[in-house]
Symmetry: C2
Subunit: 213 residues, 2 copies
């Protein structure tokens, strides 16, 4: 049993900080460039170590523009970045689910992070997880992270429900997917190679096969 | 089919930073007290924000004793703390696996973290994950984290193998368990309640049932 496979397409790895927007730097406005810089730094260094001057530098944006676009400063910028990443990943999940089903979507995410980990496995990270760790200091930022996690989960639940999986089984499985990938990214960074990610994706694929059997 | 259940015992939540050693503060030496302080702060604030003066204060140890016990300073202290937590959790896993099997062990960890999350869900964290995020700045510290993660995985693989699960299925499942719990702790902290943890544990229990069916 497969989940909604229509026609597999080539893997689209354009998601998140190193996603589609990077290719069109010339067209992006200052706000967008700051968000890209923040996403990249959140993933790499975490929230506490994200310096605004580095965000501007990495986003190729004037530092003076930060408070123009984000009057609330670092916290507001990080929350907007986490929300943006949440939306991008959700869109990628939904598109992939529609095109190739859940099993291939899992493998696609494995491939995506494996490619990201190829050059700097020791710098890999999820900007949404970085925002998540901002609690208890910054509940609004943590809430942005929770909303993102939840939206990914909801997309997976919907795909499973469409395949006839009962809600009481779909929700825990979707939670498993999101938590596993977040945990595997931490382990990949620690290991400096993508073996933990490969193992986690294999474990998820195995669990999915069993769920749908 | 259950994994090695001998006789279920009451849940033993004595593991990690708030584990058995806390009750016997009077008997612990200075090195041990510093390690407890470091574990507590790593879990709560992460490595970058772990200040040595706070470690000493939280561990009720003289600040001057840090470099006596840990000439390598913060990095050496954190690596020793991650190794200690790794060992404690591994022992807890192994003891629980022998006493009540894998399914009940999963539920036990869910209960353990649920209790920890009860008072300060927004401060919950894993000191080993905190050490994991120290890459690329501190590969030795990240390596201590990887060794801990791997030792937990190995204990689970062994239990599954003893139940006749093939190695090619046991390793991915064990990886799934460890990554899921680490990811769920991040999500629990962000959410400020233990629902993400409950969902993740339910997902793991469901996947285990399918694996052993």
């Amino acid at each position: 049993m497969t989940v909604g496979i229509v026609k597999p397409k080539p893997i689209d790895t354009r998601v998140g900080a190193d996603g589609p927007a990077r290719g069109g730097a010339g067209r992006r406005d200052g706000r967008q460039r700051l968000l890209e810089g923040a996403l990249s730094l959140l993933a790499e260094r975490g929230y506490a170590a994200m310096e605004l001057r580095d965000v501007a530098e990495r986003g190729h944006a004037p530092r003076g523009s930060i408070y123009h676009h984000f009057p609330g400063g670092k916290s507001q910028l990080a929350a907007a970045a986490a929300a943006l990443e949440g939306e991008r990943v959700r869109e990628t999940i939904e598109r992939s689910l529609a095109e190739r089903g859940l099993r291939e979507t899992l493998l696609m995410f494995g491939e995506l992070f494996r490619r990201r980990a190829q050059n700097h496995p020791d710098r890999i990270g999820c900007p949404v997880a970085a925002a998540a760790l901002a609690r208890p200091e910054d509940p609004a930022l943590a809430a942005a992270a929770t909303a993102a996690f939840r939206s990914w989960e909801d997309a997976i639940v919907e795909a499973l429900r469409a395949e006839g999986v009962a809600a009481r089984r779909a929700r825990p499985f979707a939670a498993l997917v999101v938590s596993t990938i977040e945990g595997a990214l931490v382990r990949t960074r620690a290991a400096g190679d993508h073996a933990p990610l490969d193992d986690a994706i294999a474990g998820l694929a195995q669990a999915l096969d069993a769920l749908l059997a």
